[in-house]
Symmetry: C2
Subunit: 668 residues, 2 copies
Amino acid sequence: MTSEMRQRMANAIRFLSADAVEAAQSGHPGLPMGAADIATVLFTRFLTFDPKTPDWPDRDRFVFSAGHGSMLLYSLLYLLGYGDIDIDEIKRFRQLGAKTAGHPEYGHAAGIETTTGPLGQGTGNAVGMALAERILNAHFGDDVVNHFTYALVGDGCLMEGICQEAIALAGHLKLNKLIFLWDDNGITIDGKVSLADSTDQLARFEACGWQALACDGHDHDAIASAILTAKASDRPTLIAAKTTIGFGAPNKAGTNKAHGSPLGADEVAATREALGWPHAPFEVPSDILDQWRIAGLRSSVRRKEWETRFAAVDAETRGEFERRMRGDLPSGFIEAMHRFKRQMNEKQPKVATRKASEMALEEINAVVPETIGGSADLTGSNNTRTSQTRPIAPGDYSGRFIHYGIREHGMAAIMNGMALHGGMIPYSGTFLTFADYCRGALRLSALMGIRVIHVMTHDSIGLGEDGPTHQPVEHLASLRAIPNMLVFRPADAVETAECWQLALQSRAAPSILALSRQSLPTLRLDEHDENKSARGAYEISPASGEAQVTIYATGSEVEIAVAARAKLEATGTPTRVVSVPSFELFRRQTSEYRRALTDDDSLKVAIEAGIRQGWDELIGRDGIFIGMTGFGASGPAPELYAHFGITADALVAAVNARLAETQVADED
Amino acid sequence: MTSEMRQRMANAIRFLSADAVEAAQSGHPGLPMGAADIATVLFTRFLTFDPKTPDWPDRDRFVFSAGHGSMLLYSLLYLLGYGDIDIDEIKRFRQLGAKTAGHPEYGHAAGIETTTGPLGQGTGNAVGMALAERILNAHFGDDVVNHFTYALVGDGCLMEGICQEAIALAGHLKLNKLIFLWDDNGITIDGKVSLADSTDQLARFEACGWQALACDGHDHDAIASAILTAKASDRPTLIAAKTTIGFGAPNKAGTNKAHGSPLGADEVAATREALGWPHAPFEVPSDILDQWRIAGLRSSVRRKEWETRFAAVDAETRGEFERRMRGDLPSGFIEAMHRFKRQMNEKQPKVATRKASEMALEEINAVVPETIGGSADLTGSNNTRTSQTRPIAPGDYSGRFIHYGIREHGMAAIMNGMALHGGMIPYSGTFLTFADYCRGALRLSALMGIRVIHVMTHDSIGLGEDGPTHQPVEHLASLRAIPNMLVFRPADAVETAECWQLALQSRAAPSILALSRQSLPTLRLDEHDENKSARGAYEISPASGEAQVTIYATGSEVEIAVAARAKLEATGTPTRVVSVPSFELFRRQTSEYRRALTDDDSLKVAIEAGIRQGWDELIGRDGIFIGMTGFGASGPAPELYAHFGITADALVAAVNARLAETQVADED
């Protein structure tokens, strides 16, 4: 192929992008125009993929971390012949219902490997995909999994702290099949990068164990040469490809004016002139489109070779790989969970739910080989490591446990990447209060609807002496607020197992398990296989007669609710206790079921060692809430519960006071 | 002083710490024992402070970033003679009500410059303090402000992404009076740092524009020499002080067993033996205590010199500096706000509230010289820069605007540090959705109760085409969930000015201003000076008669509520609209006031382009909510409002359907 043809192929990206932004009167033309050469080289000469079988498991992964330049990706998908993005979708860029959303959204079209936009997330996703590749490679061998992961990253991605967390782990683990292509254009929204940053990025990446290369991002051969060097490295590689943002636009190129708004009709016309592109908007000359389509077919050969290799693998391994990639759980899973629950019913352990989680995981990890555990340096506190999960180490990816380091945000984004890669179910651990540190990545897991599971322990003031910085108060509410996020707070070992089962079965929503530091008795003594936690809320302790009081509780406060019930019953007040392990699942129940639990005439009380926000949905404005109204304090846990009035006695007193009031009112 | 005496002084820290942890049966002995030598050198030979005048404005700042080792700080404060921490407080370590909380808490005792514990936050705080120092120095001169900022940081602080954001900005801005002392002990909770990290930290800091030094963290002279070199640098400095965690403990030193649990009676006894410390728990021999107390008096000379210099400054400057350090607003402030509101009443602009915020800021910044603006690379979108606020640049700190770069978490932590330093009111900007990225630091600002103001624009699906990654949906709820955080969502230019006034007047709580991207009409046409937003909620549009319907709304949805009211009134349904700029302030009103707005018999409707969570507090379970139930979408804003049913027509239809139902029920 001539270098002129390569240049014209890149220009096709430039004008599709500029014209789509112009049509939408909204969007980011600068990045696609600047990075078009990088993308052309990568997609026509290196990336292994197949537009006609886009979900081929051993394809190279391409993460478009600088998601605001989405038209680059859409242009590529259209030009290469991915079926989901045709020219009409390009024309509908940023319109309601289009696959070509403002930022690339996972699930909208094949070829979009992850949702990006919030900067830096893609760097973590790419590390996760590269790590997943190595883990699967260690298990299934070179014939089945052996591919590269590329990420196109911008200045903003590199400035975000999440990127540091991700690259440090990638460098430590020597993920040498990971390559970052940095669109080094020196421009951000506010102007020059030098307004806010003087970092020597190459030196920084080298300090983190990466190979770092630099090249002219408009010189196709230089880009190709850098990628070749990167592919041969024993370390991950950063390629700083120096580019001009808005390349080709005579007046706006190289400035922040090209970043985030349409160039304007005049400037687009001038760009056509400057780059010698006489074609109408959205028109790609057939010789160029043909070359792109040929590039699209280029690596179908590789896919076919892979298929041949894969067919030669033994049937059992093949079946196991396919099961994992489909995301189906193994057949023995349900029975193992039932067995475990029966054991808990029998033994009735008094353990913290974090310990119960470890016990459940010991069973789960024995039968579900695709779980990959981890912790952000709280392994012994989160109890996420079991006998089966040897740590993954630099160069040895045969383990099943990741020491993520003290990097919560990176961890969550890496887990997203692992789940997106497929073939594994990542779960991890940190303290619930540090959900705040990884919320950006948590939200994206919910938006994408992927199966990641976060074990978040020390879930209340019950953690005691570490004090208010470490005591979650508003976190249950703030996590329940995230759409499509399953927040579980189990009350005992039985519920913990049930919630783990639900989290593992949840293929289209991430889960958070909020678990106690302190020991809790087994409260679920009914022996059967039904997963009651799947209801979201259920009566765990019935009233002796028609309930005059209903107490709703979660997690460690169910024990207190049950104690309060006993006291109320003893003084002649029929009281039932409803355990609420998941607000989200309760909302999915039939209205009959929900009404039976919330719409009777009983006095409604909720107890949770967090804030009230969200509870009115169950107890109404007039319900009594026993919980927190502000931050916690440092002290032994039992003293804190007494200090903040989260006790059976306080609950009983509040109920009796209200019942007395009501009686007086009735008598009036 | 002999080196033996220095060693014994350090041992005093070690045993106070180990014994306090032992008494509490909870805590972290390893860091204080490991970093005792660093702290001894710093506090006895370098740090400028005065235990008897701990709030002396030009003292050096010491940030204890690795907050879990809190006993190091408490030991120092006791030994140096700070009045708040006596030996009884040391004995009550981690007990409910003690000043010696599990992690250092700002406000508990003089000498605790910031609340730390969540790792990495202290690095941002220290950068903020060092930046504040330079800004005040540029304004008030060397005679008034000229001090160093030191931070003791651990491995965990360095791994957190927030640290990268903070150090990159510090290096860029050449904050040469900032010195990080890294307790380089190679151990984290899970074990060796090498389990999860291989970063060459010195090279990484150098890549970020820092000087990086290494020394033996148990060699007092080596530490002193490094600090001297650091003080002479034209760049910020990292000193990697190689230490042994749990120094002196014969069996646990150098391992993670010394990190986060009591050493145990036997090991403490063995440590006494090993270090030659025959004294009883909490007993510090008088010769050692004397030496510490002398060290405490060491720099009172410096304070007196400063006082002499300060007294020689002209009275006006002195008064201004004192006003700023007290945190009082200047006398012209209120009048300027009234004047601005009257202008808005008159002009009735139709502008986005982000634009209204810029207009208000133009007035505020003219009369309040201590505001320091900024943005995380969204200056033109957040509208946080006004004519008065020239950017701060490397070596030139005379400006009033900070280009924070794409570093939301770092920005928020740096702002916390600036506010803690005193003398300025930091405000900044990002998109509301990226509140998720800085939540760790937001929470700490609320816990500490400090005045930082976050302008968070593009506060709903109203941002349009950027799509769901950029559209806040759950963010208002999740931010309102944070205790002691004021979340404002003004409806028009008048309310925006009122909310700015409240945020600036809020000395003990941080504020978030959620502002629209899209234009909104001026709705508040009543001309008077009362700050109605201070009520949290108030009737902005009364019903024609006794209200049959009450519509509660915030921000951009108040316009829709007012339009719906007009339609309902036109068909004979008396309807009032209540604007709710702040849930938190509404909760502070008298019960009479609150009842008047929420406890009448009208049908309750709320409209907000976010989720329902939290609204039941006003409208009850039976109230109608018009808003979002899931993530947004990419498309033009008006189409999105229609698509998600957040319109006057949808509201009216829902109300009419409910009224018809109720009527049928009444007739039954």
